[in-house]
């Protein structure tokens, strides 16, 4: 019996609690926790899928670069919801506490808590990667907004079309470039 075995043994339980904790950050989370598939329940489905994949990577000593895939799946969603940066990232941390708690309750395996350093370091790396992703998503969001303003899909209002030049707004002198 070793830590790897303990992780395998408790993988489903840890991931379930991790998903539950993450989804509890939503105001009305019952459906997100229960919804059947990721198409009818994108937040719940993607969270479950991403955290499941991430747990495997964290416990198997994977290269932190591999964390980006599942982390993107979850952070892309949380970055545009009404969370502060810390709220968006916080659930990634939670797996450390959940794992310790579960192992502590198992008298045969609680000795492995002392061996969790590598795992917890991997979680720390994942948290840092999650914060990078959060920032990337925010920047991308603003780029999308700027592109919309620049390319004319905003044209329905404040249009620069010639006929609008005839439309003298209060205090806005009409400038015709020659």
């Amino acid at each position: 019996m070793d830590l790897a075995e303990a992780f395998r043994n408790y993988e489903d339980k840890v991931v379930d609690q991790w998903v539950d904790y993450t989804l509890s950050s939503y105001k009305s989370s019952t459906f997100f926790k229960k919804g059947p598939d990721k198409f009818s329940n994108p937040v719940g489905g993607n969270t479950r899928e991403a955290l499941g994949k991430l747990f495997k990577l964290l416990t198997r000593g994977a290269d932190p670069k591999e964390f980006v895939g599942p982390l993107d799946q979850i952070m892309r969603i949380r970055s545009i919801q009404e969370f502060s940066a810390s709220e968006a990232v916080a659930p990634i941390h939670a797996v450390k506490h959940i794992t310790r708690e579960i192992l502590a309750k198992d008298s045969e395996r609680k000795q492995f808590i002392a061996d969790l350093y590598d795992f917890e370091f991997a979680v720390d790396m994942a948290v840092l990667a999650a914060f990078d992703l959060y920032m990337q998503c925010r920047e991308q969001l603003y780029k999308v907004r700027i592109k919309e303003i620049k390319t004319g899909t905003i044209i329905l209002t404040d249009s620069k079309c010639p006929s609008n030049l005839l439309n003298k707004d209060k205090g806005d002198p009409v400038q015709i470039q020659v």
Binding site: Y21, K27, F83, A90, C161
Partner: protein
């Protein structure tokens, strides 16, 4: 020990001050006030736009002023409460459907998890049942015996400023897509509840600019952009020249031509903004190839009808314009382009507002002889119906290999799909114009299609985050077919979709483009005497129109 730390983690961040998400509710929904802050509301309508609309015959848009939702004082008229309740009474008397929707909900919850706004935000007030309850609670309080006697115990509540603010928040977090209605065992059309909420808000001068400015433009010049006739004509001419330079075929289109057989009306975004203008080029190429006797109109130069998002009077007025022009020009019938909500107005409301259009003929394709009995009353057919019929009868030659740069999927635009049942025609067209295309998962298409997240006039940049949340269920399904089938093109039949899905893909699925089905038709169309231009494909090889109508030459 560990558990204690986890609790601390939750306390320090997860229960921090958060608006729609992030904290476990400790109060009843009625006691949870809305908080407006930059980014969660669309900007209010400009004073001069409201004044202009209010000055128009048959329209009433009172209380024009400068105000903002994030200020405490919304500068409501003194008797605002009386106005709202009187307005509600009038509507309950006038619209039998509203009265039924207010009475017959049993709160089974079938709709609760079907709304893209709920799925993207986790905010319970975005459950359609609760969004309707925002109005229903006031209805109960003032218009039912139980509510009058027992008030809150009977689910009633008084109309207060807080309630009004809540109405504004959540009636503009609904795109009237009607997905929830598909699942309602009682057939409650929650979109109509949202429509009533918005109508009532307009009675006291609460509306958003991104709806009222296009609506006033449309009333003034005939289209959302406010393009005047010469500009509209120039834009279409420009697109016709582009088609000629790409295909070598001169386009002979006309404007405001009396005696044409068909009047063609499409959203003005198709002649002005990418990627819609490629769709418009597709229309021009198709009509040229089949020699359709048709005309554009610079007066009815807008398919969209932002009146649908405002109130029934404005919707009626804007819709009437299309038919007035058809009458003036003496056409036989109307073909409508790829628009979303135009079709909801035509299919569900036109007949009782401005119809039946007895002065027109039942649409009959001059090329195939098909009579479109489905449009017997409205006399208006969808370009996809018309094109699918041409393909079915072998009247146009299509070469799908001309779309070999495209691996498409198809997004059922909410209104054509759910409000007029246009499900198979666009798919039939796709089968014939692209080498291969794939469907998204079945609970995200056809009647169950997910909205783009920015319909009903919510396509404004100041609420970009909200739009991305609301578009998550759609983008999530697109991502699935991108990962699984290398899809690179999201096709649709709606101009608002073409604009909103472009931004949605820009965030969720960069690299996936958006197009109209008619653009793919234009790409695949083999035209008489064509001389197709050369361009460079992604690998740098020279070939004929490697990007179809988007090829830069």
């Amino acid at each position: 020990m560990a558990l204690a730390k986890l609790e601390q983690l939750s306390k320090s961040v997860v229960q921090g001050p958060s608006l729609a998400t992030g904290a476990v509710p400790t109060k009843d929904w009625m006691e949870t006030p809305v908080i407006f802050k930059e980014g969660n509301f669309a900007y209010p309508a400009k004073q001069e736009k409201v004044e202009y609309l209010d000055s128009q015959d048959g329209l009433s848009f009172p209380n024009a002023r400068i105000w903002s939702p994030d200020e405490d004082d919304w500068k409501l008229p003194e008797n605002w409460q009386e106005t709202i309740l009187k307005g509600l009474k009038e509507r309950l008397d006038k619209f039998r459907s509203l009265k039924i929707f207010m009475d017959c909900c049993v709160r089974c919850g079938a709709c609760a998890d079907k709304c893209h706004f709920f799925l993207g935000t986790g905010d319970p007030k975005n459950m359609p049942v609760l969004r309707a309850e925002l109005l229903r609670s006031v209805y109960r309080n003032d218009f039912t015996l139980a509510g009058k006697l027992f008030g809150k115990m009977a689910g009633g509540r008084e109309m207060t400023v807080g309630v009004l603010k809540e109405w504004f928040m959540y009636s503009y977090q609904c795109t009237e897509c009607r997905r929830c209605s598909v699942f309602c065992p009682y057939g409650i059309d929650t979109a109509e509840v949202t429509m009533m909420l918005r109508e009532l808000l307009h009675l006291v001068g609460v509306g958003i600019n991104w709806i009222l400015e296009p609506a006033s433009n449309s009333n003034r010049t005939g289209n959302h952009m406010g393009l005047q006739p010469h500009t509209f004509k120039d834009n279409v001419d420009f697109l016709a020249e582009d088609v000629e330079s790409l295909t070598g075929v001169k386009i002979n289109h006309t404007f405001n031509r009396k005696g044409a057989e068909v009047l063609f009306i499409t959203p003005s975004a198709d002649v002005f903004a990418e990627p819609g203008l490629y769709t418009a080029m597709g229309y021009l190429a198709l009509f040229e190839q089949i020699g359709l006797d048709y005309t554009w109109s610079t007066y009815a130069s807008e398919g969209g009808n932002f009146g649908l998002f405002t109130n029934n009077e404005l919707m009626k007025k804007l819709n009437a314009k299309m038919y007035a022009e058809a009458k003036r020009l003496g056409v036989k019938y109307i073909i409508g382009g790829e628009c979303g909500h135009m079709w909801r107005v035509i299919h569900q409301y036109m007949d009782t507002m401005n119809g039946p259009a007895d002065f027109l003929e039942v649409p009959r394709s001059p090329i195939t002889g098909t009579v479109f009995e489905n449009a017997k009353s409205t006399k208006m057919i969808h370009i996809s119906e018309f094109t699918a019929d041409l393909i079915k009868h072998g009247k146009i030659k299509l070469d799908p290999s001309r779309n070999k740069h495209v691996k498409a999927t198809y997004h059922d635009s909410c209104n054509p799909a759910r409000a007029m049942g246009l499900l198979d025609e666009p798919r039939y067209i796709l089968d014939h114009v692209v080498p291969d295309w794939v469907e998204m998962p079945e609970n995200t298409i056809r009647e169950q299609t997910f909205c783009c997240g920015s319909g009903t006039g919510l396509n404004t940049d100041e609420i970009m985050e909200l739009r991305m949340r609301a578009g998550l269920p759609r983008a999530n399904a697109v991502k699935h077919v991108i990962d699984k089938h290398d899809v690179n093109m999201l096709s649709c039949v709606c101009a608002i979709d073409r604009a909103t899905l472009s931004s949605l893909m820009g965030y969720w699925n960069p690299g996936c483009d958006v197009c109209g089905v008619s653009e793919l038709v234009g790409n695949a169309l083999v035209m008489d005497n064509e001389k197709r231009a050369m361009g460079y494909d992604a690998e740098g090889n020279e070939s004929e129109l490697p990007d179809g109508l988007r090829t830069m030459v």
